[in-house]
Structure formats: C-alpha cells, structure tokens
Amino acid sequence: MLKHLTNTVIGQHLRSSAAVGGASLRRMYHERVVDHYNNPRNVGSFDKNDSNVGTGLVGAPACGDVMKLQIRVDEKSGKIVDACFKTFGCGSAIASSSVATEWVKGKQMEEVLSIKNTEIAKHLSLPPVKLHCSMLAEDAIKAAVKDYEAKRLKSNGHEEKAADA
C-alpha cells in the first residue's frame, strides 16, 4: 500500500511539472512576437530621397504582406546609424522586420548582409508556416543596402562628370 501511495505522489508531481513546463513553453512560443507586435521598435519613415538613406521594399503577394525597411548610413564609416520599418501583414512579418531594424543598427553594411532569416526565425520562435516572413525581412535588409549602394554609385558618377567638365 505504501508503494502505491508513493507512486501516486510521484506520478502527480511529474504531471504537474509537465503542465507547468508546457504552459511556460506556450508563453515563450509567442512572447517575443507579441512583444514586437505590441511594442514595435523603430516604426517610421525616412526621406527616401535623402542620400544617406537606403530603402528596401519587398512583399509576399499570396499573404498580401508588404514590408519597407530603411537604413540611414554614415557616409564616412559605412556604418548604419539608424533604421526604421513599416510593415503591413501578419504579426510574424511585423515582428521580423522590427527585429531586423534592431539588429542592423550600429553595424557595417557588409555585416548586415550576413544576417540570416533562420536567425530571425529562431529569435522569434517562428513556426515553419511563418518562416517566409523572416525571409521577407532578410530580403528587405539586402534590398535596403542595395538601394543605398546604387544611390552612392549614381552620385559618384555625377561627381566624376562634374570634375571632367
């Protein structure tokens, strides 16, 4: 009878800790996404005509998502000094772009090109079905850098022409 009692007590303890573990796992699963959704960092817009600004505009048509990520670059150091985003789409897309703006700040442009969607997805614990939202954020970062570099090339070209004339 003592053995039966012991087993019952142990059984109950295991069940309750599994329940607690399960509940906290459920909370963590969405916690960061919810946080970025409720307290989005860096929502806004820079002047896209500003020569220091690179704008990345990407979209996922099947979901109807559209994501704009902008970087402000310090010309001399090539460092991203500020970033902002505007995303219309699901919570995962909004959170992914919010995280992206946080991660690019203070980094060199070459550095941010190596930010992988899998890192963003892991940080937010995105389920497989939402992985493409993090891909969208990676695309947006690359597009913003590409836009800035294209602008730089264009303005350098004009400078050279002026020097020749």
């Binding site: 505009l57 109807g64 493409h132």
Partner: protein, 147 residues
Amino acid sequence: MEVHELEKKYKDWQKKLHPDLVHSKSQREREYAAEQSARVIDAYRTLTDPLSRAIYIVKLEGVLVDEEERITDPELLAEVMELREAVDEAEDSGALKKIQSQLQEKLQCWSNSFDDAYVSKNYEDALASIRRMTYYRRTNEEIVKKL
C-alpha cells in the same frame, strides 16, 4: 462565360437540385441532390468572385499560385504601401468607402487583364494579375475590418 449567363445557369441547376423540391423522392436521391446542390453553390461562389475564379481557371491548366512567393516589384509594392497607409489613416467610413470603390475598379480592371492573358496563354501575365488582385482583396479585407 458571362456573369449573367452564370447566374441563369446557377438558378437552373438549383431548381433541379434544391433539397426542398425533392422531398418526395427516395432517401438516396435526396442525399445526392443535397450534395450536388452544395457543390453548385460552391462553384457559383468560386466563379463569381474575380480572384477565386482566376486562381481556379489557371489551376485547371496546371498553374499553381506560389503561397510563399516574395517579390520586389517597386511599382506594385509602392502602390500597395500607399493603399494600406491610406486605409490606416482614413478617419471616417466615407474615406474608407472611397478607397473601397477604387479597389473594386482595380479588381475589375485586373480581372479583365487576367482574361486577356489567359486567352493568349500568357500565364506569366495571368499570375501577375492574380498577384495584384490578391493585394487589392487583402486591402479590402482591412477596410471591412475597420468599417
């Protein structure tokens, strides 16, 4: 098939199949009629909505819409951004309804583009039209939520 023809065909089918009209027949016949009636309703709904109709029609040709496709088309994306921002900033239902009627026009316009592309077997353009219609439909859903 024209839309008004579609409606007439729909009504004809429903006359034959409607559950209320077959209650005198056997159990099996009634079940069959009910099932067919539901399928007719489903087909009608799919074909009267320009977007679902377009997706269905290309599916028949083996062309499937990629659920995870990502695009960088600057013109389309800028337009969608503008529309979504307008919806976001709209202050009253009047403003929202105005955007809604713009969206209806765009949907119709791109539905016609889809038809042209499909008829000439230009599936790239057909898919492009579907992409656009999906964005307009999604924007409309946001308006409906706000109204």
